[in-house]
C-alpha cells in the first residue's frame, strides 16, 4: 500500500522510512500468524483486507471525514463513552499501543519500568509511526492506573489530551462522579465539534454501538460451540479491529461472518481438532499483540474466550435503549459503563464472578491469566483470580510478559506444560 498513501502519510508528518519498516514487519508477522491458518472462514477475508489497509484506506477515510468537518477522537480505554462521540457526528478510534515500535523514543520521557502499553502509545507518537494519532482532534486519556494517569500529563505536550476521571469504587458517590465526568465529556465533545447532542442523536448512537456489541456477542456465542469453529486469534483480531473500523460497516461484516459461522457450527465443523479449550483473562491486547494467543494455539490448545477489554469486557453489557429523553439516555450510558469490571476497581468481586461464569459457560479446561509486565492492577488481581478459579475447579497459570520476542521459548514451555497438565 506504500505508494498509494505516501503523500497522505507525509502530510500527517509520519517518519516515512521507519513507518515503511513497521508495515513490513507487521505484514510478515500477520502472514506467519494469520495467513498460515488452515480452513479459515471466508468472512475473515474482510478482516485481512481491513488489516492490510490499517494505515491506508481507513486513514484516508478519516482524512476525508475531517475535510468534511467531522472530528476524530482517539482513545486508549473501553471506559470512554463512544455513544457521545458518535452522537456529535465525530468518529472514535482506538489508538496504536500494541507494538514495541518507538520504545527507545518513549524511554526518553518515561521511566524504563513502565508497562509496554503505555510505552508503546507514547513511542508511536514520538517516533511518528501512528497515522491514527496524527489524525486525532482530541485524544482521551483516563485514570485507570497510575502509570497512564501520569503518562497523559507528559503526553499532553505532544497531543491534544483530554483526561476523564474513572472512579475506583462503585458506590453512589462514585456513580455521581462518573455521571459528572460523562457530562463534562459531553460538553467537551460538543465544544470540539460545535454540535449539540440531542436525545434523538444520542439514541441513534446508542443503537449503533449496541448493534456492534450484539454482533460481537453473537460471535462469542457461536464460537463457544464444540468443536470450536473459529480460532481465538481470529476472534481477537475481530475484537481489535472493532476499535477502529467504521461501526456500521463492521457490524454488517461481522453479522455476515456469523451467518457463515452458524452454518459451520450446524455442520459440526471445527477449526482445531482435539485442541484443549482455554480461556484468556487479564490485560488488553492491542494490535499487533498476538504473541501469547499464537503461542497458545501452537501448543495444542485453542482460545475460546477473552476476559479482557479487547474481548468480553467491551461487549458484554448493552446500554438500555428504552430511555425516553436525553437525561435518561445519559443515565443509561452511565449505568452501562459503571458495569465495567476493570482491575482498577476496588473491591472488584464482579470480575471474579464473570471469569468463573465464563469458564463454566465456555467449558474450558483452564485459564491463562495474561499480565503486562509492570501492570500492577492486573498482576495483583491475578492472585484473587487464581483462587476463585481454583475453588471452581479450573486450573490457572499466570503469565507476565511484554511485546518483545525474547521470552518466546520460556512462554512456550509454560504454555505447553499447562496444556499437558490440563489435557
Amino acid at each position: 500500500m506504500t505508494g498509494r498513501y505516501e503523500a497522505m502519510w507525509e502530510r500527517l508528518n509520519l517518519d516515512l522510512d521507519a513507518h515503511a519498516s513497521l508495515l513490513e514487519v507487521l505484514g510478515k508477522f500477520y502472514g506467519d500468524i494469520y495467513m498460515s491458518q488452515q480452513g479459515r472462514l471466508r468472512g475473515m477475508e474482510y478482516l485481512d483486507f481491513v488489516l492490510s489497509e490499517i494505515h491506508g484506506l481507513r486513514i484516508q477515510e478519516l482524512q476525508e471525514a475531517r475535510a468534511n468537518g467531522r472530528k476524530v477522537i482517539g482513545t486508549f480505554c473501553v471506559f470512554v463513552p463512544e455513544e457521545i462521540v458518535w452522537a456529535a457526528d465525530a468518529i472514535q478510534v482506538g489508538l496504536c499501543a500494541g507494538a514495541e515500535a518507538g520504545t527507545e523514543a518513549a524511554e526518553k520521557i518515561l521511566p524504563r519500568n513502565t508497562c509496554a502499553l503505555i510505552k508503546s502509545f507514547v513511542g508511536f507518537k514520538l517516533a511518528r509511526l501512528c497515522p491514527f494519532i496524527e489524525s486525532c482532534d482530541m485524544v482521551v486519556g483516563e485514570t485507570t492506573c497510575d502509570g497512564k494517569k501520569k503518562a497523559y500529563e507528559i503526553f499532553s505536550d505532544y497531543a491534544p489530551v483530554y483526561v476523564m476521571e474513572i472512579p475506583q469504587m462503585k458506590c453512589a458517590a462514585d456513580r455521581a462522579l462518573w455521571k459528572a465526568e460523562v457530562l463534562r465529556f459531553k460538553q467537551a465533545v460538543e465544544d470540539l465539534t460545535g454540535r449539540s447532542i440531542t436525545a434523538e442523536r444520542l439514541r441513534e448512537a446508542v443503537v449503533l454501538i449496541n448493534q456492534r456489541r450484539r454482533a460481537l456477542q453473537r460471535l462469542n456465542r457461536l464460537r463457544a460451540a464444540h468443536p470450536v469453529p473459529i480460532s481465538g486469534r481470529d476472534v481477537l483480531l475481530i475484537n481489535q479491529v472493532s476499535f477502529y473500523d467504521d461501526p456500521k460497516r463492521f457490524t454488517q461484516k461481522i453479522e455476515e461472518l456469523c451467518d457463515e459461522l452458524e452454518d459451520k457450527v450446524r455442520r459440526g465443523e471445527g477449526v482445531a481438532d482435539g485442541a484443549v479449550r482455554l480461556m484468556l483473562s487479564g490485560c488488553p491486547m492491542a494490535i499487533p499483540n498476538w504473541k501469547l494467543p499464537y503461542i497458545i494455539e501452537s501448543s495444542g490448545a485453542v482460545v475460546v474466550g477473552e476476559e479482557s477489554c479487547i474481548g468480553s469486557r467491551n461487549t458484554r453489557d448493552l446500554v438500555d435503549e428504552s430511555a425516553s429523553n436525553l437525561d435518561e439516555l445519559l443515565d443509561a450510558i452511565v449505568d452501562r459503563y459503571m458495569k465495567i469490571d476493570c482491575a482498577c476497581f476496588t473491591p472488584n468481586a464482579e470480575r471474579l464472578e464473570h471469569i468463573v461464569d465464563m469458564a463454566r459457560e465456555l467449558n474450558v479446561k483452564g485459564v491463562i491469566h495474561y499480565g503486562l509486565s509492570f501492570c500492577q492492577p492486573y498482576a495483583m488481581e491475578s492472585f484473587k483470580v487464581e483462587k476463585a478459579l481454583q475453588e471452581a475447579g479450573f486450573p490457572m497459570v499466570a503469565i507476565e510478559t511484554d511485546y518483545s520476542m525474547e521470552d518466546v521459548e520460556q512462554l512456550k514451555t509454560r504454555v505447553e506444560a499447562f496444556v499437558e497438565m490440563v489435557r
Partner: protein, 252 residues
Amino acid sequence: MAIIGLDVGSRSIERVVLEESSGKWTWEKAPTTFDPLAQCRRLLAHVDGCSVVVTGYGRRLVAEQFPHLCARTVTEIQAYARGVHHLYPQARTVLDIGGQDTKVIALSAHGSVAKFEMNDRCAAGTGKFLEFMASSLQVPLEAFGHFALQADKQVEINSMCTVFAESEATSLMARGERPQNIAMALHRAVVRRTLAMLRRVGGASPLVFAGGVAHNPCVCRLLSESLGEAMIVAENPDVIGALGAALIGASG
C-alpha cells in the same frame, strides 16, 4: 523395544535408554556446548527402530532436525514430574533448578502435575546465577558450593538481580570480605528465592530436589536446613528429565 529419553538442557544433554520389557535403563550425559545438535547427533547415533521422546530447551530443535526419528516432545515440567514419581513414588513436590530455569511442581497423589511455577525470564535464582557468580569470584562452578561452605561469617547479599548481586559482591570484596563468605551470601540469595517459589506453590512434602544445581552441596545444605527431613536430594539429579521423557514414551 528400547525407548530413548533425551533432555536437551542449556548446560548439559542427558540420554536415557529404557528397555521397555524389563524397565532397565542406562544413561549418559554430555555437555551442551555451542553445538547442541552435534552432541545430539552423537547421542542419537545408531538409534533405530526406537521411539524417542525429547524434553528440555532444545526439544523442538531436535524433533525438527531428526525427522526420521519421529521424536515426540514433552516439557521439562512433565518429564521431571514423571521421572521423580517413578524414582520416588511418595514425592509430592519437585524442585528442579536447572541451568536456565527454576521450576517448582506440585504432584498429585498419582504423580500427575497439579500446579507449577517457573521463574520469569531473568536468571535470578537459577544455575545461571551461580555460574555467573562463580566466574566473577574466579572459582570453578563445580567447586563453588564447597567453597561457600568454608564461610566463617555471615554477610548479606540482598539483590536477586544477577547484575546487582554482582555489584554487591564487588562492594563486599572492596571492603576486604573473604570470598568464601561472599560465596555463601550468594548461595543464600538463591535459596531465599527458591523458598519463595516453594511457598507460592504450597508444595506438600516430601520434596525431591532435582536438576543440575542439586549437585551443589551448599544449596542442598541451606535448603535442607529450611525444609528439614522432608527434602530428598535426588541421587542422580540431572538424569530425571531424560528418564521421565523415556517413561512417557513407554506409556504411549
